[in-house]
């Protein structure tokens, strides 16, 4: 999503685009989920993502961390980095590869199964890479300039995994 935008942080010597800047990189377990969420939230705000868009990205990342703890071996690593105007978060776990991942929204009265759906729906981008030793989940968001009055807009274009959002979430 950054390809069409002028690069504002080119290396002044080489003229090449700057390399991604790692904003946060740390391991996590169940006991550090909240601390990690706070750290991600702070970086997201610093990067200029505020309001619902920032909250949505933090919740998406949190859901992937939770998924890694609960289903991906109990621990993992999170790397948050910025590449020009794109903020990317990778959550690496060490669990076994499941046969299928529930990215669809379950029926309303089914208690579980909304984590990955939320991560995808809130960012419009969810990449699940299966490795021999686990799964890497990646979400990103474009750091668009602040536009007053658009705080409720979706983080980015919604792609068609599963379906569109429920009626209540999409009505004006």
């Amino acid at each position: 999503m950054s390809a069409d935008r002028p690069l504002g942080n080119d290396d002044p010597v080489s003229g090449m685009p700057a390399r991604p800047v790692v904003l946060l990189s740390c391991p996590f377990t169940a006991t550090t989920v909240a601390d990690l969420r706070h750290a991600v939230a702070a970086q997201v705000v610093t990067a200029g993502l505020t309001g619902d868009q920032g909250d949505d990205f933090v919740l998406a990342v949190h859901e992937l961390v939770t998924n890694a703890v609960r289903h991906g071996g109990g621990a993992g690593e999170l790397v948050l980095h910025r590449d020009d105007d794109t903020l990317t978060c990778e959550i690496v776990d060490h669990g076994g590869t499941p046969d299928s991942l529930p990215v669809r929204l379950p029926a309303a009265n089914v208690p579980g199964g909304r984590g990955l759906w939320l991560a995808h729906h809130l960012t419009g981008t969810l990449l699940l890479t299966h490795r021999p030793g686990g799964t890497t989940a990646t979400v990103n968001v474009c750091l668009t300039p602040e536009q007053p009055g658009t705080a409720d807009s979706a983080a980015s274009t919604h792609i068609g995994l599963g379906s569109g959002g429920p009626t209540e979430g999409t009505q004006p």
Partner: protein, 147 residues
């Protein structure tokens, strides 16, 4: 940080009505305790309201606890709903399509009026959407969407 310290609750019971006031951040580390708390409330009184006014964060595991309590209430003919939703709570429940379900009363008793007929004329009060495996419940209650 002690993850136990980021949330708290207060339970107030008056007659057959229990109000559970939640405050702080709710995630996988509070989900089990929250579920036990809500189940106990739902099982012990006719009507349970969960006040979310001071909730600053909820996630899918919190939503699971709310849905589990709603199911228990529904199965036992009791009433369960969430009230005074904070902005983060409202947004999470709206996005997951649960705002109507959880803010309306459980159908423990037959509603006074049948749900209005849907535009497609089915009039069933339910419809499936895009084969996505979830349903949105329509009731005759007040407008539960965003103001």
């Amino acid at each position: 940080m002690n993850t136990d310290s980021i949330w708290n609750h207060q339970v107030r019971t008056s007659g057959d009505r229990t109000t559970v006031e939640l405050a702080g951040e709710f995630d996988m580390n509070s989900a089990r305790q929250l579920q036990d708390l809500l189940q106990k409330a739902v099982e012990s009184t006719d009507t349970t309201e969960v006040d979310l006014a001071r909730v600053s964060f909820i996630d899918s595991t919190t939503i699971s606890a709310l849905i589990a309590a709603w199911n228990t209430a529904n199965d036992t003919g009791h009433h369960f709903s969430v009230i005074n939703l904070s902005r983060p709570a409202r947004r999470a429940l709206a996005i997951t399509g649960l705002l109507g379900l959880l803010t309306a009363d459980t159908p423990g008793k037959t509603p006074a009026e049948p749900p209005p007929a849907l535009p497609d004329g089915s009039g069933t009060g339910h419809h499936a959407r895009n084969g996505a495996g979830y349903r949105v419940r329509h009731t005759a209650g007040p407008d539960l969407g965003r103001p």
